[in-house]
């Protein structure tokens, strides 16, 4: 059977599964639509959260980002940042918002700061960060289709939109939850199988997490030592020690990703779907378990695939690879444009070096590391088909979660809570379906015509969430004295400072040539790169919010009552029967 046919079969089967789940679990009330009737088991919600969270970027690009763009150790910012945020979420945010018990993040901000203005500002921040995020997912769907199924980008995007449209509009949160669980299973299988085989081939250890710290099969040289040595020989810096920028930049980058993670609405609302506060805490732990399976495998794929590639480029006699000796996978991926070779000095060999003047592997795309893995490891075709289905599952599950966050902000926070309070339950459910349909179409349109700023999208989403929503939520839960004026001023100040810094270095709306301080690192504030700036925006938010609160009227008594309620010990989960583990 040809690879393309097999890929169609595997991807077609997974899509049929998602649709079947959506029909079986369709939403019949607004509570179903927004929070799946708060009846999701904590482990199931953990799995759904993991799929919601891990996007096309985590699945396809992260390993390459770590290994190539950030040269190994520098990429740790993503690994620690995108997992450490869950500790903040589990300790400081999710249990309290679950206790609050309403449907959306702006709901809480509106009530806690007793203000429609605060609610609308939160909706704007939410839409800004979710829309920038969803564009990346729609592009991921189009790209995955065009690479694996040989359709063009537009067709791929159209099919992806149709699938999301179907299960998100029909199923709401309930349908999304159960399809996300299926999507998690597909994506984690697709990610780990090639990793296990590569680890086995290189080190003899089936666990990539252990293989990364093992010796190479048939020798007593450690894999990471060998990688460091080869890269230094080729003129690169050491894999295991090279900083990204400075120590301060790495701290700021990690912190921005952590607090951005804990402030992303599409992740937070997942914790509204479990039955109790205790379940929300436990569920965050499970979410991180399921996320960690991929996130601890990714650095192993990064190092192992990089080693495989440099090994391919070096022949056993120490000479560079002959152009005509390129393996089949190499030529396959050259056709997609992700790999490019130019024999600059005409010696018939491909020299891979750190020096752009002499490097003849002129293009080595980050995505290659995950996408070409099965072929490099000479795995059967069904594994390649599975990787295609996995990449699509990652993109679709994240897109659906984001679209739900956007549509519920519109139908619930703008219509029901702010502008049309008299709307009936039935009409609100219909409005939420219409908002969802509009959000899917809007996201599809932006995927087809990506605006100029799409290049930096996902990183920007974290900066925006970190600088606007996370501080507003944290102060809303823990700082009794912060009032309406403080919260609104803080959110606006935080998000403006972050946007301004990103725009001044990367161009207004990322339009090339409009950056007024240049993208150059000498102009960076204490050497902090724009993607790492969210934490500075968050500090600005806190300072402004506390200062403004001090000079304006204190919050009314209802706020103190709300906080008393949030911090009240909730009814404990029934004691587990003897012998049962928790």
């Amino acid at each position: 059977m040809s690879l393309t046919l097999l890929t169609y079969l595997v991807v077609g089967f997974t899509f049929a599964l998602y649709i079947a789940i959506a029909i079986a679990t369709r939403a019949s009330s607004t509570k179903d639509f927004y929070v799946a009737d708060a009846g999701v088991h904590p482990i199931a919600n953990g799995m759904a959260t993991a799929a919601d969270w891990m996007s096309a970027a985590s699945f396809i690009s992260m390993a390459g980002l770590i290994a190539l763009s950030y040269n190994g150790y520098g990429g740790s910012v993503f690994l620690m940042g995108w997992t450490g945020g869950y500790v903040l979420l589990a300790l400081l945010i999710a249990p309290y918002l679950r206790k609050y018990g309403k449907y959306t993040v702006p709901d809480f901000i509106g009530e806690r700061y007793y203000s429609d203005t605060a609610r609308v500002v939160a909706v704007i921040c939410l839409i800004l960060c979710s829309v920038t995020y969803v564009i990346g997912q729609m592009k991921g769907v189009g790209v995955a289709f065009s690479r694996f199924l040989e359709t063009d980008y537009e067709t791929g995007l159209g099919i992806g939109m149709f699938i999301v449209f179907f299960y998100a509009v029909v199923g709401g949160m309930k349908g999304i939850t159960y399809t996300q669980i299926a999507q998690y299973v597909v994506l984690i299988t697709a990610y780990t199988i090639p990793a296990i085989f590569i680890s086995l081939q290189l080190t003899g250890n089936p666990f990539p997490q252990l293989g990364l710290g093992s010796t190479l099969a048939g020798s007593d040289v450690y894999l990471l030592d060998k990688l460091d040595m080869i890269l230094v020989d080729l003129g690169f810096q050491e894999y295991t020690t090279t900083l990204r920028g400075s120590t301060l930049n790495m701290m700021a980058f990690t912190a921005s990703l952590m607090i951005g993670t804990a402030g992303l609405p599409h992740v937070i609302i997942r914790f509204f779907t479990v039955p109790s506060v205790a379940a929300a805490r436990r569920s965050a732990g499970w979410a991180l378990v399921f996320i960690a399976i991929l996130y601890t495998t990714a650095p192993a794929i990064a190092a192992m695939a990089r080693l495989n590639i440099v090994d391919t480029m070096q022949q056993s006699d120490g000479q560079a690879l002959l152009v005509e000796d390129r393996p089949a996978w190499f030529e396959n991926w050259e056709q997609t444009g992700l790999l490019k070779v130019e024999d600059l000095n005409g010696d018939g060999r491909i020299e891979y070096t750190a020096d752009p003047e002499t490097n003849e592997l002129t293009k080595l795309d980050n995505d290659i590391l995950v996408l070409a893995n099965p072929e490099i490891a000479q795995l059967p075709n069904w594994v390649i088909a599975l990787v295609a289905a996995g990449g699509l599952a990652a993109a679709l599950s994240t897109a659906a979660g984001l679209l739900l966050a956007i549509s519920s902000a519109i139908s619930h926070d703008l219509l029901k809570s702010t502008y049309m309070p008299s709307i009936s339950e039935k009409a609100e459910l219909r409005a939420s379906r219409i908002a969802m349909a509009a959000a899917v179409l809007g996201a599809g349109y932006l995927g087809l015509n990506p605006p100029g700023f799409a290049a930096g999208t996902v990183a920007l989403a974290f900066g925006l969430a970190a600088s606007s929503l996370f501080p507003a939520l944290l102060m809303g839960i823990f700082a009794r004295g912060v009032n309406r004026e403080g919260a609104v001023a803080g959110m606006l100040a935080g998000i403006s400072v972050t946007l301004l810094y990103v725009f001044q270095h990367k161009g207004i709306m990322f339009i090339p040539g409009t950056s007024f301080l240049g993208g150059m690192s000498p102009n960076w504030f204490f050497g902090i790169e724009p993607n790492a700036f969210g934490v500075v925006g968050a500090v600005v938010n806190f300072v402004v919010a506390f200062s403004v609160s001090r000079v304006s009227a204190p919050p009314p008594n209802e706020v103190a009552e709300l906080l008393d309620f949030l911090h009240e010990p909730s009814a404990p989960a029934p004691k587990a029967p003897p012998g049962a583990s928790h």
């Binding site: 740790s76 300790l91 894999l223 912190a255 436990r282 909730s570 404990p572």
Partner: protein, 93 residues
Amino acid sequence: MADDKNVARRQLFAAKVRSLMLRLLIVWFVVSFGFGILLVEPLNEIRLGGYKLGFWFAQQGSIFIFIALIFIFSSVMSRLERDYVDGGKESRK
């Protein structure tokens, strides 16, 4: 009197929660920002198999510890809440 007692119990509960959070967040900071970034160079002198220890914390160890922190938080909080409710029953006797 009963009210005073309840207020005191609530304050004790809140203090216990705060101290639990603080301790867990200190560990959270130390394993990631501390071991993974600030102290990475001295820790890299120590080896864990083929891993330099600082590198291991940055790419593997911190993640495992994060998971443990959340489950510890979840189980200690459940215990604190159970104690609080049990204590409430006793004081009504």
